[in-house]
């Protein structure tokens, strides 16, 4: 019964529930970062250190790509220009 796998598993489960429950896109991305912290803790608790280092470097890149997509979506939704295709509906 070690303390790091326990805390990481709790973070993973709570983050997964939070991604489903929250409806605001920024809240969803915050919960996604919360899930990733638990994921790296679980990788380290199995002694895969090199995988954990590479995964730690690559995680902010995924978060930044998601945030850029969100900002572009908001800009297109607020502009008055009529586009040819309809925008996809992300949230209600």
């Amino acid at each position: 019964m070690d303390i790091l796998p326990t805390v990481s598993a709790i973070c993973c489960v709570l983050g997964a529930i939070g991604v489903i429950v929250h409806t605001n896109p920024i809240n969803k991305i915050i919960m996604f970062a919360f899930l990733e912290s638990g994921l790296i803790g679980l990788i380290v608790s199995c002694y895969y250190l090199d995988v954990a280092i590479v995964s730690s470097i690559l995680e902010p890149i995924g978060t930044v790509v998601l945030l850029l997509g969100l900002m572009k979506y908001e800009v297109v939704k607020k502009s008055k220009k009529k586009y040819g295709r309809k925008l996809p509906i992300l949230t209600k």
């Binding site: 019964m1 070690d2 303390i3 790091l4 326990t6 805390v7 990481s8 709790i10 973070c11 709570l14 529930i17 939070g18 920024i26 809240n27 991305i29 915050i30 919960m31 970062a33 919360f34 990733e36 912290s37 638990g38 790296i40 803790g41 380290v44 608790s45 002694y47 250190l49 954990a52 280092i53 730690s56 470097i57 995680e59 902010p60 978060t63 930044v64 945030l67 969100l70 900002m71 908001e74 800009v75 607020k78």
Partner: protein
């Protein structure tokens, strides 16, 4: 099972619950950063070798970058409205 690991684990669980339950978004970022620091400390305490400390350092830097990127985007969205 050190005493320090148990204390940091309790702080991490409390911070996780507060990230889940708080309504304000800026406060959520604050508690998320606190939880990332807690997990970096637990990594450094769990693995007793130099490689563990290196993994903890890399994780600390990258998680702080991620939280700051979310905070910057929140500011931009507030400026857009």
């Amino acid at each position: 099972m050190d005493l320090s690991s148990i204390i940091i684990g309790v702080i991490a669980v409390i911070c996780g619950l507060r990230v889940f339950l708080t309504q304000s978004r800026a406060r959520k970022l604050l508690y998320l950063c606190c939880l990332n620091f807690c997990i970096a400390a637990l990594i450094a305490l769990y693995i007793k070798s130099p490689m563990g400390s290196l993994a903890a350092i890399v994780y600390l830097i990258s998680s702080t970058l991620s939280s700051n990127a979310i905070a910057y985007t929140l500011e931009q969205m507030k400026k857009m409205e």
